[in-house]
């Protein structure tokens, strides 16, 4: 890039930035001020591509065999209210560049919030130096599987309404109306309601020619009602788990009718105060999709991550019982034949949907468990080659499933789960059908407490609402319920599941993994399930 071209970009970029931030102020930026700017670019600006190329050039000059660079602007908005008060209102943005390099089979990564050509070149050199420093004599070098398909273009979440275009007053008023609707119930003494929105504009390039830009939206409204007993000896909460976080726009808020649902959440919180404590024992569990998604996340999605299985996460997130691969792939009986699990990043509105992963790979949908048998792991370009023998045996190409992700420009990408979904059953059953078919059981709605061991065998899950089922009918509410399970036994006990009409997508913004810990946003589509004779404990201890 010639100096004159660079100056041109700098001026254009400054004007664009000023236009974005200062729209409506009517104050023109002077050329003098523009010249003082240190951050030169905004999303969509051609200068970003120039910066990406600068990073890749600098990395190659510093000895990189492969490099990729990501520039992202991550905007979030958070609104917190409690009762009649707005407790917090903030708009946040973080903008920067991260450069990853591979030097003689060793990774390096560096990142900065300074978006200037000099700074970008500096971090690229820093990443290369670090890769060299990390290299040791005895080691297995990193190699990358090919990235098939188109690697150029743009992708955007299927958000109908950009949440950042909705006036803040409208959002605040909605939340305060929700709180008022809750507090009409005198025993629902406390209520918090929040909204969180994200818009990420992410540009990526690598030394193999990939160059694309993606715009990602995420939205979640949440309401939590707390009921307190008159004698101050008990309190119970109800979270609005029937509304899950989604990769959608503001339509996710409006379509979910918070005000209409608020009185029910209040009633349910109050009912929990007088619910019957559960008797410990074995029960048939009927699990609602608003609850089950988290059980799938912990007991199916995490153990089928290949890096965990191979020991790469042993120091924090843990390893996996799905190990070693050569004894598990195509062999391990994970659950009942009703169980079919797929990895997917294409479903509209899902949190892990994207056009390309952070390796520059177009993701594919892939089977993880077929009719109860484990058939594949989640992979990145680095990992796919570890299973080369297996894919060759199957006669399939060895390619990444597109599971590379980083939470921000400041963090290095690594293997993160796509949406991992439980496929609907063939019979067109729904929630009520499963209840009606159950003689002595507990129905659980909404995610609650959750914990699982570092190899994903032993888990314990609570919930939001628990109902006693007798003779095919719900006969009353229970409290202090948690179930304990061993993963293959739990999924082996699956004997009924819902059909397509009962499919629902739950998920989380904050799936933690890695060191430093990074958050992944992921959805889990699923249907209601029934599991026979699961161990239930009572959590309401007093001493």
């Amino acid at each position: 890039m010639s100096p004159s071209r660079r100056d041109f970009l700098r001026t254009t970029a400054a004007a664009t930035a000023a236009g974005l931030v200062l729209a409506g102020t009517g104050r023109a930026e002077t050329a003098e001020r523009a010249a003082r700017l240190t951050n030169l670019v905004s999303p969509g600006d051609p200068a970003i591509n120039e910066l990406l190329m600068k990073a890749l050039d600098a990395a190659k000059s510093a000895g990189a065999d492969y490099a990729d660079a990501r520039v992202s602007l991550n905007r979030t908005q958070a609104i917190f209210t409690r009762e009649k008060r707005v407790g917090g209102l903030s708009d946040n943005e973080t903008f920067g560049v991260g450069v990853r390099v591979l030097v003689q089979g060793s990774w390096g990564f560096a990142a900065t919030n300074e978006l200037t050509p000099d700074a970008v070149a500096r971090v690229a050199r820093q990443a290369a130096a670090q890769a060299k420093a990390s290299r040791a004599a005895e080691r297995r070098p990193v190699t990358l599987a090919p990235a098939p398909g188109n690697q150029k273009g743009t992708w955007r979440s299927e958000a109908k309404v950009d949440p950042f275009t909705i006036p803040i007053e409208e959002k605040v008023q909605l939340l305060l109306s929700v709180n008022a609707a809750v507090m009409k119930n005198p025993q629902a003494r406390f209520v918090t309601s929040n909204m969180f929105f994200l818009k990420e504009e992410k540009s990526y390039a690598n030394t193999e020619g990939a160059l694309f830009t993606q715009t990602i939206f995420r939205s979640q409204p949440t309401v939590t009602v707390t009921a307190v007993s008159k004698d101050f000896k008990d309190f119970q909460t109800r979270q609005s788990t029937d509304i899950q976080p989604m990769g959608r726009g503001y339509e996710h808020v409006t379509e979910n009718k918070l005000e209409e649902n608020a009185p029910r959440w209040a009633d349910e919180a109050v009912q929990k105060l007088s619910a019957k404590p559960v008797e410990v024992g074995r029960y048939d569990l009927v699990l609602h999709p608003t609850h089950l998604w988290l059980t799938i996340h912990e007991s199916v999605a995490h153990p089928t991550e290949l890096d965990r299985a191979m020991g790469y996460e042993a120091n924090y997130a843990g390893t996996s019982f799905v190990f070693p691969p050569e004894k598990m792939l195509g062999t391990l009986k994970y659950g009942s034949p009703l169980m079919n699990i797929r990895g997917d990043r294409s479903q509209p509105g899902s949190l892990a949907a994207c056009g390309w992963d952070d390796d520059g790979v177009q993701p594919e949908s892939f089977d993880i468990i077929k009719q109860g048998v484990f058939v594949d792991y989640q992979t990145t370009r680095e990992q796919a080659l570890w299973l080369d023998w297996y894919y060759k045996k199957l006669g399939k190409p060895t390619r990444s499933h597109g599971c590379s992700y980083s939470q921000s420009w400041a963090d290095v990408q690594f293997q993160r789960m796509p949406n991992v979904n439980l496929l609907p059953g063939e019979k067109d059953l729904g929630w009520d059908d499963l209840i009606a078919a159950t003689d002595n059981g507990i129905a659980i709605i909404g995610e609650g407490s959750f914990s699982i061991d570092q190899q994903r065998y032993n888990a314990q899950f609570g919930g939001q609402l628990f109902y006693e089922i007798k003779g095919g009918k719900i006969v009353g509410m229970l409290k202090d319920v948690a179930y304990q399970m061993r993963t293959p036994d739990f999924w082996g006990s699956l004997d009924m599941l819902g059909g397509q009409k009962s499919y629902f997508m739950g998920g989380a913004f904050n799936d933690g993994k890695g060191q430093p810990s990074q958050s992944n946003a992921v959805s889990h589509g699923c249907v209601p399930t029934r599991h026979r004779q699961i161990n239930v404990i009572n959590t309401g201890r007093q001493s």
Partner: protein
């Protein structure tokens, strides 16, 4: 060869003051607060006995809080050019104009006097990727030599924090953190041992010693046998004690207690300040200026931090009052930023060692650390989680061998009521994720009737 790295870049006091002044210069609100967080993080991960990834990043975030009339808005950015800074002030003020009045609004503080923070360490700030790789090699080499497989994480942070407001308050602090943790496993996955340490000063961390401890535990944990779940006397290493005692932080808020939704709520109303809740040997203190628990000299809203005993001789002495709730209840605000999370917590201890705690145990379990600890019942601070990476059976005052891991459902409050004996407190790795985290100092303890509810197959 690697080229020399730039030293960790954090903003100096003068740079922070100048940046804050620029931001305040754009403000038109009645009151404005600027919070600056600037710094860098370097990390090296290792797996299968070699470095797997590494990362270095630098960033500076500016948070603006604006008050217009009785309305409050907030916005943040890391774009430090005039456009970015002016934009963040305007965004904050726009939000403030559009929100309803805040009945709990507290005025910005007048200028305060602060003690100088002392948690900056040049050795930590200067640790470059080559030095990190050399430290890691001491562990991977030991593990490889023993025929074992090491995985782990080394992190250093160097940050500067500053607060300035439109009333002339200015506060500045810089600190460093270092953490090294490792999990060593047998190649067949039949044994696993963990060791870890954190400090603001890198030279207080001994990579070779950590590696040796994890290697030893990995070897000794092979061949674990099952024991029946149930109530056991436990000897908890300091890290395991820290895993559980820190959980009390989530309930330490005075307002939640006064509102009837906390363990610290008194039945019938009010809170438990003045009541005995745990064994009288237990004292829990946050003190940012104790050399063992160094933390920030000021809170997020600019109050000077002070020594706060939460529990003294088993009795609740303080709950965390923010400025609004303190005023409403006629109390002084607590000089910690968000309770224990100001980054410092120390528990009292005794004179015992791990060995003597074991020797004093007829039958029980020795626990290295806990994992996936999540709330179950906030009324009793009851949590669930599992043992991990070094769990052993004690018989007749001696370690009898490795046992399979177990799930617990237990409250740190119950545990500290069932206390038998305590050892000498030490700084522990504060979080499950192995990041530098807060300065947490805990003793090893022996406690009876610890509640294990199921067995895990996980190793």
């Amino acid at each position: 060869m690697s080229r020399p790295q730039e030293p960790a870049r954090v903003m100096s006091r003068d740079e922070a003051r100048a940046l804050a002044k620029r931001v305040l210069g754009f403000s038109t609100a009645n009151e404005t607060r600027v919070s600056i967080n600037s710094g860098s993080r370097g990390n090296t991960r290792f797996a299968v006995n070699q470095v797997s990834t590494a990362g270095d990043n630098t960033d500076t975030t500016v948070v603006v809080r604006s008050v217009i009339g009785n309305k409050v808005g907030s916005a943040s950015t890391n774009r430090l050019d005039d456009t970015g800074l002016k934009g963040v002030v305007e965004a904050s003020e726009r939000l403030a104009k559009l929100t309803p009045d805040d009945p709990e609004l507290m005025p910005e503080l007048e200028p305060q006097q602060y003690r100088e923070g002392t948690s900056w360490n040049e050795g930590t700030a200067g640790l470059d990727p080559a030095a990190r790789a050399a430290a890691v090699a001491k562990i991977t080499g030991a593990a490889r030599g023993a025929g074992l497989v090491s995985t782990g994480y080394l992190e250093t942070t160097a940050t500067a924090q500053a607060i300035a407001n439109s009333k002339g308050l200015f506060a500045y602090n810089r600190d460093t953190g270092a953490a090294l943790t490792t999990t060593v496993r047998t190649p067949d996955g039949s044994g696993s041992g963990w060791a870890g340490a954190t400090s603001n000063a890198w030279d207080k961390i001994d990579p070779a010693a950590l590696g040796a401890r994890a290697v030893d535990k990995a070897k000794r944990s092979v061949g674990a046998v099952a024991v029946e779940p149930g109530r056991y006397t436990v000897v908890l290493e300091p890290t395991a004690v820290g895993n559980l005692v820190q959980l009390i932080a989530g309930s330490i808020n005075a307002r939640s207690a006064d509102e009837g939704r906390s363990f610290f709520t008194k039945p019938g109303g009010g809170n438990k300040i003045g009541e005995k809740v745990v064994d009288e040997r237990v004292t829990l203190v946050s003190d940012s200026f104790d050399p063992e628990t160094l933390g920030a000299p000021f809170t997020a809203d600019g109050l000077p931090t002070s020594r706060v005993p939460w529990i003294e001789n088993g009795v609740v002495k303080n709950l965390n009052y923010d400025r609004y709730w303190a005023k409403k209840q006629g109390k002084e605000p607590t000089g910690v930023g968000g309770g224990f999370f100001s980054g410092s917590l120390a528990m009292s201890g005794g004179t015992e060692t791990i060995e003597s705690l074991i020797a004093g145990c007829e039958r029980g379990l020795l626990v290295t650390r806990f994992w996936y600890i999540r709330p179950v019942d906030p009324r009793t601070i009851l949590f669930t989680g599992l043992t991990r990476d070094g769990t052993f059976l004690i018989k007749g005052g001696k370690i009898a061998g490795a046992v399979r891991n177990l799930r617990f459902n237990e409250s740190p409050i119950f545990m500290l009521n069932n206390l038998e004996a305590m050892g000498v407190p030490v700084r522990v790795s504060s979080g499950e994720s192995g990041s530098a985290g807060g300065a947490i100092v805990m003793p090893p303890i022996r406690a009876r009737d610890f509640n294990f509810t199921s067995l895990s197959d996980a190793i």
